[in-house]
């Protein structure tokens, strides 16, 4: 693995599992000093041991907890170059007809407010870098930003919202003359522990697996390493002219009329 992120400090929210954990491994392997957050300290321990990354317990939706997190990163590591706003949930989601207000608020709190707070505090932190405001912020949206699911209202809505959030933040940073880039990635179905558990718990696991694999014309799910490769590219200086973009990585699922 090349070291194109050597000397950079990265923050990854929701880093204890799935795409977040994959990004922790990839960014660390490319030489970044990685701080990741979440609430599953047990899962974080093994990841820290494997990668040398640092774990801090933190919930993205709690606005009052953000300044302390940023202060810890800047005090201990001196700078922030990369923020991957990855934390997301679907617990409590449902169709528009059946969702409860608590379910709606839970998903919006993490997927939308949590992402806004991540971007806001990342920009504030990056402005304090010794050479001025530089950095790369990556938001984990979903292909469901483009193709909504009927039974996951809040998830679909929040994933679309954060694409607009990325563009607004990118334009803002440009207007202010900051060298801070903001982009969104829109993965298709990724074989994370969350998806594996849904498959295992299905009445017919083999049929559930075939259904997930069949969504993409590529006829398989992505693995987390494939998503982490895109995160690493956008995090690197190679992507210096890329801002306000939304990169779909879905095995052609939304390129056609397959529907999800």
């Amino acid at each position: 693995m090349s070291k194109r992120l050597a000397g950079k400090v990265a923050l990854i929210t929701g880093g204890t599992s799935g795409i977040g954990a994959g990004a922790v491994r990839r960014l660390a392997a490319e030489g970044a000093l990685v701080v990741f957050t979440g609430s599953n300290a047990a899962a974080a321990e093994a990841l820290c041991a494997d990668t040398g990354a640092r774990f801090l317990t933190h919930r993205v939706q709690e606005a009052e907890a953000w300044p302390a997190l940023i202060d810890t990163i800047l005090t201990d590591h001196g700078r922030l170059d990369i923020a991957f706003a990855n934390a997301g949930v679907e617990a409590g989601d449902n169709s528009v007809e059946d969702i409860t207000i608590d379910g709606w608020n839970n998903v919006l709190g993490v997927n939308q407010t949590g992402v806004m707070l991540t971007v806001q505090h990342a920009i504030r932190a990056m402005k304090r870098n010794p050479e001025g405001p530089v950095g790369s912020i990556i938001i984990n949206s979903s292909m469901n930003a483009h193709r909504a699911m009927g039974n996951f209202l809040a998830y679909s809505v929040t994933k679309a919202a954060v694409v607009a959030l990325a563009k607004s933040a990118a334009v803002h940073c440009g207007n202010r003359g900051y060298q801070i880039r903001v982009n969104a990635i829109l993965p298709g179905v990724v074989e994370t522990a969350m998806i594996s558990n849904l498959i295992a718990q299905a009445p017919d696991p083999a049929a559930a697996r075939a259904s997930y694999e069949g969504m993409a014309p590529l006829k398989r799910m992505a693995n987390v390493e494939e998503i982490a490769g895109l995160v690493a590219y956008l995090a690197s200086d190679e992507a210096a002219f890329i801002s306000g973009s939304e990169y779909v990585i879905d095995g052609a699922t939304t390129a056609g009329m397959m529907g999800v």
Binding site: S2, G174, P217, L218, F241, I242
Partner: protein
């Protein structure tokens, strides 16, 4: 860029149309730096100065064939060149293109057909002629073979006096999605994605800006560059190497799950 030259394309053969200038040349240089073997095509005669100088600089891993992307016969010759020299192909970059500006009511049929032939027919013909070779080589590396079509931000949004260019680049965008779905559905190991550069400092951009100056839209080409930079959120134009970075990502194993995607590299221009 610390990633340059880490050999991540060793063993690959790439074909880059329009490879003597601008974005095409930058992509060829990047692929060579990553260890690939590269065949360039362009309009210049093979024994003329620019191809000779370019090959002398790029070294033995590069070769050149004069080919007009609108000519089926030339594409057949390009395929023969690749087949005889390498026997396989992993990466096809359909980069050759031209521009055309002017009010829609003023465009001649010949001018319209010319830009469609270069920007659209050229992408179709390159894909058609190399599809079998790309499919045959697709099992050699994770993620398979990769077709990279150079569209534009003008394939995403409309712009004044740019109807023909907009139409041609929009066609490239959707042609790419269609072949991506087609290949994936048929288990053909070829991915296909489009790159949408914003304003890039290339000979084509300078020529286009000079024509705007001659039409009286600005006093100098530099004024147009400054205006363009000011309307781009990142505040500058791109260097061709920055587009080559995206073309490298799409050629590498890192993009193994990306197909049918639009890779916009525009400094935030279309995000506004």
């Amino acid at each position: 860029m610390s990633e340059l030259g880490t050999g991540r394309l060793v063993g690959r053969v790439a074909f880059v149309s329009g490879g003597l200038r601008g974005i095409g040349l930058a992509i060829a240089e990047r692929y060579l730096a990553e260890g690939a073997q590269v065949v360039l095509s362009d309009l210049d005669a093979a024994d003329s100065a620019l191809p000779q100088e370019t090959l002398a600089r790029l070294g033995k891993s590069a070769s050149y064939i004069a080919a007009n992307v609108t000519s089926e016969a030339d594409w057949d010759r390009a395929r023969e060149h690749v087949a005889q020299r390498h026997g396989k192909l992993h990466i096809l970059v359909n980069n050759a293109g031209t521009d055309l500006t002017g009010p829609v009511e003023s465009l001649t049929m010949d001018a319209w057909r010319r830009i469609m032939a270069i920007n659209v027919d050229g992408v179709f013909l390159g894909t058609r002629v190399f599809q079998p070779m790309l499919a045959a080589s697709g099992g050699e590396f994770r993620g398979g073979s990769s077709i990279i079509n150079i569209s534009s931000i003008m394939g995403l949004v409309g712009y004044t006096d740019t109807s023909a260019y907009n139409a041609s680049k929009g066609a490239v965008r959707l042609f790419t999605k269609s072949i991506a779905v087609e290949f994936a559905t048929k288990r053909t190991p070829i991915r296909a994605n489009s790159i949408h550069p914003g304003f890039v400092v290339t000979p084509l951009l300078h020529a286009g800006f000079q024509r705007w100056v001659e039409k009286g839209f600005a006093a100098t080409a530099q004024d147009l560059i400054d205006t363009t930079a000011a309307t781009t959120p990142i505040g500058r134009l791109a260097d061709p190497a920055e587009i080559a970075g995206a073309a490298f990502f799409l050629a590498s194993e890192d993009s193994s799950y990306m197909t049918g995607s639009e890779v916009v590299v525009d400094g935030g221009w279309t995000a506004q």
